[in-house]
Amino acid sequence: MYICEKDFMKSSQLYKGSLNTIIMKLLEENGRMYGYEITKKVKEITKGELKITEGALYPALHKLEAEGFLEVEVEKVDNRLRKYYKLTESGTTETVNRLSELEEFIRNMQTLVNPKLSY
């Protein structure tokens, strides 16, 4: 049962629209991060309930970068190159907007799903 629930959450459409906001929020908190670190962090915070798939993470990062919300830094770590992402100035402003939008959405959904909470 638990496995089914987990699988549902992983593939849920509800999360798809929030992927960019999740990434931006993490970057806002952590300064700069690389791809693998982001997937690990999300798994850690949600205790494995939410997993960002590799096939979705990089397209989202590249899209945000092309839109000017993220900038990149490359560093040699161990014996390989590592690409770090961080928020640009417009990315920081956008994060604030998207987070307040998301919070409002959550509030509205709570009111709709569980009207008692609104009292």
Binding site: K63, V74, R80
Partner: protein, 229 residues
């Protein structure tokens, strides 16, 4: 346990085998796979490198790296279009707009002075198209030379040196001009033709000269590792 340089090279080779042509993406995916493999080794040190690699690769789903490559292409093409638009807008700000308007006026004057407007227009159009496609060939050669020199392919460099998707749009003005013979006889028609010609010249100039001239700057901003190579 950390990966050796040979294993990192094997990961680069693995990405190439899975149709990731571009060095920037190869690097990012190599680091991702390497992190995944090292994490797997921490849990199970007995796992072989190739076994761990297959486990990590499976996490990308049945299409492997395909989606990542395609989406990267879309994202960088969008970035390129944004650059073109930015340069284009420059010609409609003061003081450049004076030059743009003067160019329209000069072409309008030339066209109205001549008897066969449509013929002159077709000649000008042909010249613009020759520059457009001639430039495309020259830039493709330059791109291939740069790739050969560095032994690496960069997606944004390829987009810059092949005009992004703009080369495919060139049939649009051609279609438009087939139907222009009629309107070239009226005054408004000649103004319209002059505006279209100037816009085409501006686009040629931006795609062919302005952006490639600053390509190094744009490439370094997109790929900080570009200068490290």
């Amino acid at each position: 346990m950390k990966l050796t340089s040979d294993q990192i090279e094997r990961l680069y080779q693995f990405t190439r085998q899975h149709y990731v042509e571009y060095y920037d993406l190869q690097t990012e995916l190599t680091d991702h796979l390497a992190n995944g493999i090292e994490a797997l080794w921490n849990e199970n040190p007995k796992l072989s490198f190739e076994e761990a690699l297959q486990i990590e690769f499976k996490k990308f789903g049945i299409f492997g790296f395909m989606n990542v490559v395609e989406e990267r292409q879309i994202a960088l093409t969008k970035k390129y279009n944004g650059l073109v638009w930015q340069h284009f807008k420059d010609f409609f700000k003061l003081p450049q707009i004076l030059g743009t308007l003067s160019a329209i006026l000069v072409i309008y004057r030339i066209l109205t002075f001549l008897a066969d407007v449509y013929m002159i227009f077709m000649i000008l159009f042909a010249v613009i198209m020759i520059f457009f496609f001639g430039g495309l060939i020259v830039m493709r050669i330059k791109n291939n030379r740069l790739n050969k020199q560095s032994g690496k392919k960069w997606l944004f460099q390829e987009i810059i040196f092949s005009y992004g998707r703009f080369a495919g749009f060139s049939y649009l003005p051609m279609q438009l001009f087939i139907h222009l013979e009629g309107i070239s006889k009226t005054n408004y028609g000649i103004i319209f033709i002059s505006v279209v010609l100037v816009l085409m010249i501006l686009l040629d100039y931006i795609l062919l000269i302005r952006i490639p001239k600053k390509s190094e700057e744009y490439l370094t901003a997109t790929y900080p590792e570009y200068k490290l190579m």
